[in-house]
Subunit: 229 residues, 2 copies
DNA sequence: CTACCCCGGATTGGATCCGATATACAATAT
DNA sequence: ATATTGTATATCGGATCCAATCCGGGGTAG
């Protein structure tokens, strides 16, 4: 029987769908810091009742992407410079650990896949896709690590930082620089040099951290210190 | 007006209450791996409807403490040796980083607080409290780090491991050994030696990891490889 | 005797309804 | 005029109701 079965267990609940949609919207910056999430508005958008929406909101709150104020509603939460910087530190630590574990298990096929994503990242002119491709590139390499818990925490860290990393890619030469660094990381992986891959990854993340710090400092100097609490 | 107001905004929702109760029950091993969470049974226990129970279950699922199978219900998830070991590795890394950041900010008051918890841990004869005190000891020291994101991930890691750490404390000399190691860590903190505190903490965690590995290996050799999937 | 099918109870997921709370605005008193 | 109080509306949290799905047992055909 050459029937191509589809995994039914992947059928998601309505709440799961709403969650993914809201999560994507927040990560991509479509919903900005402080934006309120009105339950019945969202319910109407998805042609569902408020129950799945509430489910999605509690999931988002567990991930730290929104904060729910009892009887007042949920709002998207942003990061202060301090918070963002801490999460970047976390990523330096964990990304480094993960890629070091991953390099010895990378197959040529995986390298090729990462190279393809890298190429797509380089040639894409649509800044909207840069963030996704950037993330896909790193996560593809990390798949080889077989460290699901670490990847889970990393995914959450990325979820919170992505909005700012995307802004970072838009800066002058941000995209070109990221691409150059990706190629270096890829090379190190291809020749099996785990230490180099780890060091390059840390440098890559530190660059984004530093850039964001300067960027936010400039913004806050202009508008006064609108530090998120 | 000398009226001592209480902050009403701290009132938690019913879902939050149920979540905390279930979380505690899972962490303390009261609910074991594979135990099903029946919605209306729990709802009856808390004199509420199933809505807050469902909310609690989605929170638990986000934390990785239970897995919800669509239309079949939620069950408590356990850890395989591999999974537990990975999370111990994570803890070695993060605990070390966090305590190194915390030591320079520790006040005498904090050290005293930790010493008190340590003493309570040493003198308590009730194994049910050992786990809580053990955890409180470490988290108290870590408060000084001012790294909320790291502490969040660490809390989740502890939530998943605690059941096994508790079993570990029950082993011969497990409690005595943990206490001795706590005193060493405390000493290093008191004299401001961050590196020593970090190294001792890593050794402390590695001990639990190794002990658990042997323990589970013994169990699984007896019962066949009942590896959690 | 076995394999299959169908059906009913148990359980979950989603919709609708209702009470509780917060916010904005109008009314009133000092 | 301002501050305080009452009220109306928007919104949320929780209860109840209904539909969808799973599981096990009994019946039936081969």
């Amino acid at each position: 029987m050459a029937l191509k079965g589809v995994d039914v267990s992947k059928m998601v609940s309505a709440g799961g769908l709403v969650f993914e949609a809201l999560r994507r919207a927040i990560i991509e910056g479509e919903l900005k810091d402080g934006d309120p999430l009105r339950q019945d508005e969202i319910a109407r958008l998805f042609h569902t009742s408020r129950i799945p929406v509430r489910e999605a909101i509690t999931m988002l709150e567990q991930q730290g992407l929104v904060k729910n104020h009892r009887f007042k509603g949920a709002v998207v939460v942003g990061l202060s410079i301090t918070e963002a910087s801490e999460i970047f530190d976390f990523r330096c630590n964990i990304d480094s650990h993960v890629i070091r574990a991953a390099v010895p298990h990378m197959t040529p096929a995986l390298i090729a896949e990462a190279r393809a994503i890298c190429a797509a990242f380089a040639s894409s002119g649509d800044p909207m896709h840069w963030g996704n491709l950037n993330r896909a590139f790193h996560l593809t390499l990390y798949q080889a690590s077989n460290l699901p818990f670490h990847l889970g925490t990393l995914t959450n860290a990325m979820d919170r930082l992505d909005r700012y990393v995307r802004a970072q890619l838009l800066l002058t030469e941000g995209h070109a620089r990221a691409n150059a660094e990706h190629l270096e990381i890829l090379d190190a992986c291809a020749r099996g040099d785990a230490n180099a891959a780890a060091d390059l990854t840390v440098a890559h993340i530190r660059g984004a951290q530093q850039g964001l710090r300067e960027h936010l400092a400039k913004i806050q100097a202009k508008f006064g210190t609108a530090e998120a609490t």
